[in-house]
């Protein structure tokens, strides 16, 4: 029987749309338009002062689920950019005009387009004599576990685009690269690629149904298609529960020249889920993702919908040694949470991860926002659980130690997301001369 022929039209349509974002360019767009017909999307405001000052203010502009958990836009693109020349007034005008085009062309929401541009420490170092403020926590990316050897992303800038609509993403990209003169009826002010070249382009998706639809034939996910339909992510569970996420206010820089901005770490993490699904029972996956107590008490049903807005992990953060000894396993969330709370109990990181099938390999793009990159580094160190194997040999460097066995970090980059007013090639002291 011809499976393709019997497939639901909607499933087939979704496949094409995702593929279109992954392919990108004119080919992707034409494939996409054949399926969407280019449905009308609300434009953005004429008066850009009505937009939030923070580029990273996304939470009020996306869907929430019934429990109040943020649902990120279904389709996302990361454009890694290198300046063609120095960051002069012309380049600055070009970048600002290109981003204003996006602002005006699409309503700033998951139905339209969310975007933010960020700059690497290498950008500030390469192009300026002055230094960033000493108290700005934006180090060069580095290795964050004793077993990873990632490539470091040191391109000048990272433009993050997100939308529920693949053709919005593709059209926006076409405008940025000068392939369109209008975008959703709005004149394209400038092509971003006049000032920068795209050094790397990475794409992804998130949300219930999409990973399941994408798993077939994907390297890293077993051939029997174990990813549940209800799961927003390949590993089969929800993540980013509201109670376990920092607020946007919390991660926002509250002083200095980039007040109103934030720092962003973006990792790309290859996933190898054969043993995750093949060797482990559901309870064992719950143990390794959350905590052994989550499995023992039956706290997680299915993809974790029943957890509501709180994974409940804080209750078990102190039990790591006891769990390691009793169960021979410790949980990923349990370990990471150790470092992800401040003295008052506030969550320090705002995680915005999404999945990828780039190069037909399952991976996770992991952007995290925080006031200081050191906050992220501390959480990652806690997640490494390097202290646990000394408690019992049953927990090894990467085996039975959360989810470390199944994930391989391929890229890390650190970025400054300036406030919107400074988004066009800022200087280290928070200026945009020439604009």
């Amino acid at each position: 029987m011809d499976r393709k022929g019997s497939e639901e039209p909607s499933a087939r349509r979704r496949d094409v749309l995702r593929a279109a974002v992954a392919v990108g360019g004119a080919a992707g767009l034409s494939a996409c338009l054949g399926y969407t017909g280019g449905a009308a999307v609300e434009t953005g405001p004429e008066d850009l002062s009505t937009l939030p000052a923070r580029q990273h203010a996304w939470n009020d502009r996306v869907r929430n689920d019934e429990y109040g958990n943020t649902e990120l836009p279904s389709h996302q693109t990361l454009l890694y950019l290198d300046l063609r020349d120095g960051p002069d007034a012309d380049a600055r005008s070009t970048v600002e005009a290109a981003l204003r085009t996006l602002d005006r062309a699409y309503v700033r929401s998951h139905e339209g387009l969310l975007h933010s541009i960020a700059y690497s420490p290498a950008y500030f170092d390469r192009h300026y004599d002055e230094s960033l403020p000493e108290d700005l926590g934006l180090p060069e990316p580095r290795r964050l576990s004793p077993f990873e050897e990632p490539e470091f992303d040191t391109q000048d800038a990272l433009l993050h685009l997100a939308s529920d609509s693949p053709d919005v993403l593709l059209r926006a990209e076409a405008a940025l690269s000068g392939e369109r003169s209008t975008l959703n009826g709005v004149d394209v002010g400038a092509a971003l690629t006049d000032a920068v070249e795209v050094a790397d382009r990475r794409t992804g998706f998130v949300g219930a149904g999409i990973p399941a639809a994408k798993q077939s034939g994907l390297e890293g996910v077993p051939a029997d298609g174990p990813v549940p339909e209800a799961s927003p992510l390949f590993m089969g569970f929800k993540a980013g529960f509201a109670a376990n996420q920092a607020s946007e206010d919390y991660v926002t820089l509250d002083g200095g020249p980039f007040a109103g901005g934030t720092t962003k770490h973006v990792a790309n993490i290859r996933q190898r889920l054969a043993d995750w699904y093949g060797e482990q029972s559901f309870d064992e996956r719950v143990m390794e993702m959350f905590s052994p107590a989550h499995a023992e008490r039956g706290l997680v049903e299915g993809v974790g919908e029943n957890l509501g807005a709180d994974s409940g992990i804080d209750e078990f953060v102190g039990d790591i040694e006891a769990h390691a000894r009793e169960f021979g396993r410790v949980g990923h969330a349990q370990k990471a949470a150790r470092a992800n709370r401040d003295a008052e109990g506030n969550v320090r990181l705002l995680r915005r991860h999404f999945e990828s099938a780039d190069d037909n390999v399952a991976s996770l793009h992991f952007p995290s926002l925080q006031r200081d990159i050191a906050d992220f580094e501390a959480v990652r160190e806690a997640m490494n659980g390097s202290d646990v194997p000394a408690m019992t040999p049953a927990v090894r460097q990467r085996v039975n130690n959360g989810i470390l066995e199944y994930i391989f970090v391929k890229h890390r980059g650190n970025w400054l997301v300036p406030p919107r007013s400074l988004r066009a090639l800022p200087t280290p002291t928070g200026g945009t001369p020439g604009l």
Partner: protein, 356 residues
């Protein structure tokens, strides 16, 4: 059977020594391994069959800190150990080889157990597989890291072997070593016919007996524990539990890298018959004499260039006297997967008393 008798008569040839014999051995399906014995002793036993292995290649990390060896054989069934639980991993459809990697110090040729290892396999730039592979014990090879992989077609594969920084306590000249991760590429020319030329010998006459397959000579060092006569300090006694041999010895002072005062009591754990290192178990001990316990504590997993991988405790000024009794307990058995013949040993490990 004549051919197999002939091959058996050769004994365990060096790695690759039989690669040219492909034509001598009938092609067989990898599923042909004989069934696991029904009545296995709770001890080391001679397996139902013996398989040869081929050398894929070796490499050093760029900084010269680590040397890697990559070997292959027929896909294996093996047994994973998690805590006290043992689960059998069978050969799956699509498995073509059992890949085995070892990592060692190029200077001392000490094999490094408890270093997380992963393999990435690519062919023509395309990802074929990537896995964290498990620490394992096999009789001919001792400690290594291994997993079954599907490769598919004959051809040239690039296997990137990656090691994580070693988290085990390190002492002596190893104190500042093995902190960083490293990788190296090994080119692996795989062909099914070469694989099928590897030795495969059913051993029905010896299967189940209290014995072990002889260690195999390899280009890579074996994880053999030092002979008692080669251990530094004074060897004070030997015990056995779960069929593991525990050699107890003393150094006057702890090796550099150990907090605490001497003397330093060490336990060098090895397999019976072939003296392979038995790593990754939890060991606690109580040293007692007439008036009761004089020391009680953990014997910490430690890697030392002279002692090798061992379990050690600094006694903090408590002298060891002749006639003292050391009771060793193993709350967690060796957390290493087992090839056949080791899967029933080193699991139930009751406390053992060694008179020093």
């Amino acid at each position: 059977m004549k051919r197999r008798d002939y091959l058996a008569g050769l004994g365990l040839a060096g790695v690759g020594g039989l690669a040219g014999c492909a034509g001598l051995v009938e092609t067989r399906s990898v599923a042909a391994a004989p069934p696991v014995l029904e009545d296995r002793p709770d001890a080391v036993y001679f397996p139902t069959h013996v398989e040869g292995m081929g050398m894929a290649g070796s490499a050093e990390s760029g900084d010269g800190e680590y040397a890697f060896g990559l070997m292959y054989s027929y896909p294996h069934r093996f047994w994973n150990v998690n805590g006290g639980a043992v689960s059998r991993t069978d050969i799956e459809d699509g498995d073509d080889v059992h890949l085995m990697a070892t990592v060692w110090d190029p200077e001392t040729r000490t094999v490094l157990p408890e270093a997380g290892l992963s393999l990435e396999i690519a062919r023509g730039g395309e990802l074929v597989s990537q896995e964290v592979i498990y620490p394992m014990l096999s009789q001919p090879m001792g400690f290594h890291y291994g997993a079954n992989f599907g490769l598919g077609d004959d051809g040239s594969y690039t296997v990137t072997v990656s090691v994580g920084g070693v988290s085990t306590r390190r002492t002596g000249s190893f104190v500042d070593r093995f902190d960083e991760p490293a990788s190296a590429d090994v080119a692996f020319d795989y062909s099914r016919s070469t694989r099928d030329g590897l030795r495969f010998e059913n051993t029905p006459d010896r299967a189940g007996s209290a014995a072990a397959v002889e260690p195999m000579e390899m280009m890579a060092p074996n994880a053999v524990a030092p002979a008692e006569t080669d251990l530094p300090g004074d060897v004070l006694g030997t015990g056995s539990t779960g069929d593991a041999v525990l050699v107890v010895g003393r150094l006057e002072a702890p090796p550099e890298g150990v907090d605490g005062e001497g003397p330093y009591l060490y336990v060098s754990a090895r397999t019976p018959y072939n003296r392979m290192v038995v790593p990754a178990m939890a060991v606690e001990g109580t040293l007692a004499r007439d008036d009761g316990a004089v020391f009680e504590g953990e014997f910490v997993r430690t890697l030392d260039p002279d002692l090798g991988y061992h379990y050690g405790a600094a006694l903090g000024g408590t002298a060891v006297e002749s006639g003292d009794s050391l009771t060793l307990r193993v709350p967690t058995p060796p957390q290493v997967a087992r090839h056949e013949g080791y899967e029933t040993a080193f699991l139930e490990m009751p406390p053992v008393e060694v008179t020093l």
